[in-house]
Every structure is written in structure tokens, then in C-alpha cells.
């Protein structure tokens, strides 16, 4: 096993689950880690060093809101000292210009600002917070400073039609990259799925517009997007394959193969306070569970695409098919695809008014 085992490329660091926003699609688990259980700066520094030794190149600082950590500057410095490239994925909320300068001086390589929408009203409806004006201020602060900037727009039924306005924000900023990311229907997103899924017609229009944008901005802004998997024929290669490329560390030090893995019953996660990163990566129970192909059932087991998409998302298999080892139900070959189609059949009209039924993400103690 170890011979054919890749080293992980990216370390996703959920520095905290605390966040001033309450996004209805938040990728954090429904059970959030309390502040008192968060890893110390010393533990994180050791995690960064061990990760670099394992071959990791990139550290993604995320949360929650990573800026909610009062030691964020030291965390960036520690990751850079270990030799990692540091990406910060933030709502931009707890930030001012002086703080931004200290993040950059500590060696932050890449600033990724996430947007709930292109307008204040929909952003507030989705995040339960007023943040949009602050995000636009942050973009102004970023302009004269030397750092890579990505705008990350999370796409859903309430904002898919805003692509023009989203691109206009990108064009007037110093971003070199725009990422259009679909809501993932796990955790909070699953609870709000019926209100977030776009319609087929909305998506078709979006795909035409995004293709045109890709051409128009070539050489200036890299435009990245994927077709949302509920509307695709085959699943996405979730996390680049289970235990193949990514290691995620939760705020309390649990090592997970993906954001949502905690929904899978019976999966035990090892903690970086007790085991070395190498041990966890090479033989940790949760990482081994769906690594390779031994766990696969039909139709994946004998499918030609299994080395390409790895059977899709395990968490989605659990949530929709009720079995984490099943073929991802979004796959057209899955015996459970009808369940996905039934959900889509219920999504008729683009939602033009705010949904009163959203379940908002809470905050940990």
C-alpha cells in the first residue's frame, strides 16, 4: 500500500469553527468544535512541519473564519517557516488595513475572498449578516498590495443569475482568479438543499455566460468553474480521491479525509495530538477506509471511470443512498440516481423572493 501511496498535496486547516457569518450552505459539520478545544499555535506549527515533510506544498487556512484566531499572524508565519504556500480563505469580516499588512508581512501568499452573492441584500439573506460592503472595502485595500487575490463566489439558486455583476466586481479588483464554486449538499447545505439548488434553465444560461467570460478574461483573470454534480452525468472526483491528495485538520486536531467525513457513522478519526501526521496519513483508519478500490460496490467496482472519479463523494452516498460505500447517487449509473432526479424535479422555478425557511448555521461555544 505505502509504495503506491501518494503524498498529500494540500493541508486544509480548519483553524476554528467560530465565524461571524451564518451561511446556509456552510461546509462545517452540524456539530461545531468549541473554542476551548481548538489546537494551540504550537500544535499547528508541528502539524505544518510534519505536513511539509510528508510532501504537502499548500496550506489552506479556512474555518469558520480563520481571522477569528487572534494568533492568525503567528499561524501564517509558522506555515511559511515550514515551507508551505499559504492560502487564506476568508469572509474578510474581522479585518482592517493594518491587520491586512501584518498578514502580508507574515508571508501570506494568497488571499481568497468568498462572496455569498454580488449584492448586499442576497448576501445578507444567505449569511444572516451584513458583509458585502466590507468585502468591497477589502478589495480596495488589496489593490495596491502584492499578494495573489482570488474571488470565490459560492453559487446557488438565489445568485446564479448574477454572474454579470460578479464578473464586474472581479474586473474592478486586483483578482487574478475567480472561482465559481457550487454549494456542496452536505452538512448545512444538505439541510437547505431545496432552497439552494438552481433550476436547469438557470444553470444552462450560467454555463453559456461563464464560457464567454473564460474567453474574454484569458490572460487577465483565470475563471474556474465546474458543473454542479446534481446536474452532471458523472460525479466529481471528490477531494481528488479519498486519502489521495488532501488532509483536513479540524479545529480540535482531528485528521479527516474530507470536510464532511464526520457524517459517516462509525468512522474514527485520529488526532494530531496523539499520532504523527505520517502515521495518520499512511495507516489511519479513516484514511484507509475508502482509499483505493477495495471498498467499492457495483457499478463502480467494474466501471471504467473508477480511476477518474473514485466513485464520487462518500458523504453524498451516505446522505442520499444511506450507505457510504455506495456509488455516488448523482452518477447516472447509480441505482439511486432516481432519488436525485426526484429532488431536481421539485426545483421548478428560480426563486425570486427570499426563503423564509432557511436553516442558518449556528456558532460554537
Amino acid at each position: 500500500m505505502t509504495n503506491s501511496l501518494h503524498s498529500p498535496l494540500a493541508l486544509v486547516c480548519e483553524l476554528t469553527h467560530r465565524c461571524p457569518l451564518h451561511c446556509v450552505y456552510c461546509s462545517n459539520p452540524r456539530e461545531l468544535a468549541a473554542r476551548a478545544t481548538e489546537l494551540s499555535i504550537e500544535s499547528w506549527a508541528s502539524v505544518f512541519k510534519q505536513a511539509a515533510e510528508l510532501g504537502v506544498l499548500q496550506a489552506d487556512f479556512t474555518g469558520g473564519e480563520p481571522l477569528a484566531r487572534t494568533d492568525i499572524v503567528e499561524l501564517i508565519r509558522a506555515a511559511r517557516a515550514a515551507g508551505l504556500y499559504v492560502n487564506l480563505i476568508t469572509s474578510g469580516l474581522p479585518l482592517d488595513e493594518a491587520k491586512l499588512d501584518s498578514l502580508l508581512a507574515a508571508g501570506l501568499d494568497h488571499f481568497q475572498l468568498s462572496f455569498q452573492s454580488a449584492t448586499e441584500s442576497i448576501a445578507e439573506e444567505i449569511s444572516g449578516t451584513k458583509t458585502h460592503a466590507q468585502k468591497l472595502r477589502v478589495l480596495e485595500w488589496l489593490k495596491p498590495r502584492r499578494v495573489a487575490v482570488t474571488l470565490n463566489f459560492v453559487l446557488h439558486r438565489r445568485n446564479l443569475h448574477q454572474i454579470g455583476e460578479m464578473l464586474a466586481i472581479a474586473e474592478s479588483s486586483s483578482a487574478t482568479r475567480v472561482e465559481f464554486a457550487n454549494v456542496q449538499y452536505c452538512g448545512w447545505g444538505f439541510a437547505n438543499r431545496e432552497h439552494l439548488l438552481p433550476t436547469r434553465a438557470q444553470l444552462d444560461q450560467f454555463l453559456i455566460d461563464v464560457k464567454a467570460a473564460e474567453e474574454r478574461f484569458r490572460g487577465k483573470i483565470r475563471v474556474e468553474y465546474v458543473v454542479p454534480d446534481y446536474y452532471a452525468k458523472y460525479p466529481k472526483p471528490c477531494m481528488g480521491g479519498w486519502g489521495r491528495k488532501v488532509m483536513l485538520i479540524s479545529p480540535n486536531g482531528d485528521a479527516l479525509p474530507c470536510h464532511a467525513a464526520a457524517v459517516i457513522p462509525g468512522l474514527h478519526f485520529e488526532n494530531v495530538r496523539e499520532k504523527s501526521m505520517r502515521e495518520i496519513w499512511e495507516s489511519g483508519e479513516a484514511f484507509q477506509k475508502f482509499r483505493g478500490e477495495a471498498w467499492m460496490q457495483e457499478p463502480c467496482k467494474s466501471c471504467d471511470r473508477r480511476a477518474q472519479d473514485f466513485g464520487g463523494c462518500r458523504c453524498q452516498a451516505l446522505l442520499i443512498a444511506g450507505d457510504a460505500s455506495a456509488t455516488d447517487p448523482v452518477c447516472s449509473l447509480s441505482p439511486n440516481r432516481a432519488k436525485v432526479d426526484a429532488v431536481l424535479a421539485g426545483i421548478q422555478e428560480p426563486q425570486t423572493t427570499p426563503s423564509a425557511e432557511f436553516l442558518y448555521r449556528t456558532n460554537p461555544s
Binding site: L57, D60, D109, H110
Partner: protein, 92 residues
Amino acid sequence: MAIDPNSKPQLAPGVRLGENNNQRVLLMPERALRLIGPSLEIVQRCDGKHTVAQIVADLQKIYSKAEPHKVETDILGYLQLLRDERALDFTA
């Protein structure tokens, strides 16, 4: 968009050389490119001082056994790829 031979390529903000397991890599947002042989020679010259034409001439000297025209097309292709990745800025 063709690449202007008189322009000077420079690593874009947030793009830098790194090293992992004795292997040089070009680090950029959410991505890393392995640099071997000529690709490392090219990237090391993307310093905002060398023009594209100078980089081509340098590499034609280093790889003097290769057909000069082929060296040039390969370099232009690679620079274009890096530009589309948004790893390079070009100044006049």
C-alpha cells in the same frame, strides 16, 4: 493573444519558487508546477528584467544542440501557458 518578444515577464504576485523533496516547484494559488530543466531555466529568468527575446536567446545558447526555431516556439508556448495560469505579468 501572441506574446510580445520585447515584453518582460515577471512572476505575478503570490507566485514564487519553492522546493519540495529536492525538487523545484512553481507555487501559485491552489496549484504547483514541477520545474525541470528548461522550464526552470525559463522561470528563473522571469524577473522583470529579461525580455522574452533575451530569454529565447539564452536558452538557444544553453540548448545549442536543439533546433533554434523549436526552442523559440517551445518557450513562447510555455510562457503563454504560464500567462493563462496567471502566473506571469508582462511589462513593456
